[in-house]
Amino acid sequence: MARETVRPTVTEYIRRLKNKLMFIEAKNLVFSYKEDAPPVIDGMELKIEKGTFTAIIGHNGSGKSTLAKLLCGLLIPTGGSVTVDGMPTNDEKMQYDIRKKCGMVFQNPDNQIVASVVEEDVAFAPENLGVPPAEIRHRVNSVLKAVGMEEYAKHSTYKLSGGQKQRVAIAGILAMEPECIFFDEATAMLDPAGQRDIIASMKMLNREKAMTVVAITHHMNEAVEADRVIVLNHGKIYADGTPLQVFSDVENILRAKLSVPQVTELFYMLENNGCRCGTDVLHTMEAAERIEKLFK
C-alpha cells in the first residue's frame, strides 16, 4: 500500500488557512418568518472571511436584511446553521459573545441613537457591557476621532445632520469593539455628502482597523467600493464575485431587477451599438480613459 504523504498540497494548505480566517459561515441556511410561509432565505451556503469588505445587493424582498440579521445572530435560522467565529448563533449561551463580535448600523440613525448628548450615546453600549469608566472615556474619545466627530462630543444628538448622526451611530457600535460591523442600508437616508462620509468610514474601518465590513445597499456606488459583491435573488445567492466581475455582466444584473453604475450602463449601451469597448468598467476615471482610447 502506498504511503500517504503527510505534507498537505498547496490547495489543501490554502483551504486550511482560509478556515482559520473564516469569520461567518452559513451552511444550508433556511429562514422563514412564519411556519407555513415560503422561506425568505432558501438553502444558502456562504462564507465571509475576516477583514473583508462585502456588499450585499438585491431587489426589495430578496432577503438582504433578513440575511444580515441571520449572519449576526439577531435572527435564528429555521433550518441549517450560522456560525460567527466558530460559535453557532442558535446556541443561546453564545448569543452574548456573538453580539459583542458583530455590530449593526441601521438605515435610520434616529432609531439607534438613545442619548441626547453625542458622547453619552457613544458610551451607552460599553456602559451596558460593564466596561470600567476610565476605559469608556478612552474608547469614546478614540471612536469619535475615528469617525471624525470628536468636535461634537458635547453636542446634542438631535441637532446633527443625518450623516453626522449616522457617524455617531457607527461610533456607538465601535465603542463595543466588535470585530465585524454590518451596515443595513445605512446611506439610504443621507444626502450625497453624508453618503460619501459613510462610505469613507466603511473603507477606513476595513482598511485601517482591519474590521470585517458587510454593507447591505441599494446604492451601486457603495457596492463598487467593496472587495466582494453578493447578489441575492429569491432568497438565494444569484451572483458572487468582485464588483468588476458582478457588474460587468450587465444583463445578468438587470435580470435580477438591479442596476449597474452609470458608466457601466453607458459602456453596455456602446457595446450594443457595435463599439468594442467591453463592460468591465466601474469608475469615472477609468471610463474616461477607455473612451479616450476609442477616439484615438
Binding site: H59, G194, H218, L258, V263, E265, L270, M285, A288, I291
Partner: protein, 288 residues
Amino acid sequence: MTDKAITLENVTVKYGIGTPFEKTALDNISIAFPKGKITGIIGHTGSGKSTLAILLNGLLKPSEGVIRLENEDIHKDKEFTNKIRFRVGLVFQYPEYQLFEETVARDIGFGPRNMGLTEAEIAARTAKAAKFCGLDDDTLKASPFEISGGQKRRAAIAGVIAMEPEVLVLDEPAAGLDPAGKEEILGGLTLYKEKTGSTLILISHSMEDIARYSDYILVLKEGKMFDFGTVEEIFSSADKLFQASLDVPQITKLFIELKKRSITCRSDIYTVGYGAKVLISELKNKER
C-alpha cells in the same frame, strides 16, 4: 415661462421663536413652481427641504411671507386652508408607516372619503389611483400590513393621488427602494402628471433620479435658495453643487472629464441613454 402653480413670496420659517433654540429653517425664499411640470428639490440634510414640503399644503404657517396657490393666499382663512390640504397632496418620507386601514383599497379611499365624496366616486378614484401606482386587484383586497415594502409605499402614494390634488409634493418617494421599484413609482408619477396636468414637486437625494425625472430643480442650502433652473442649468455647474454638499450624476462627471480631455465638447449630459447617443454619433463622425 410657463404658468405658476404655487408660489412662495419672501417666505421665512423660524422654529422656536423667542427661545435660545431659535432656528431659521427657511430664509426669505421666493419661488414660483411651474404648472404641469416636475420640479426637483435637492439640498443637504437640514437644508429645509422637508420644511418647504409641509409649508406647501398649509401644515405649517410661515413666520413671514405669503404662499399662493393659483394667486390666492393659502392662509387667507381657516376654511380655505383646510381645502388646500386636498388641493395640495403631500406624501411624507416613509409614508408606508401611515397605512392603517383593514384593506389597501380602504386605505387609499380614506382621503376621498374625508372629502365627503359618494361611495361610487370613492371606488372610482381608488381604482384610478391604484392603476397609476401599479397595484393589482389582489393587492387592493389585502391588508396593508401583509404586502411588500415596495407595495406599501405605492399604496401610500395612491392614497394621496386618490384625492386628485393639483399639486403633489413627494418627500423622498423612492428612498430605500430597489432600482426597479424606483422606476415603477417615479415612472407612474410621471404618467400621472402627464394624464392629469398636475404639478409635481419631488424631493430627493438621488441626483440620478432628479436628472432623469425633473424639468426644473430648486437647490436649497442652509435654508436659503441656492439655485433654481432647468436640469441643464443646475447640473452644468458641478463645482457649485459640490459646495452645497451635493453632487452631479456619475454620467455627468464622466462627460465633464471627457470635455477636460477635449474628447467631446459636451458636458450637458445628465442621463445614460442620452450620453450613449452623443458618444455613438461622435464616434461615427470621427470615422468619416
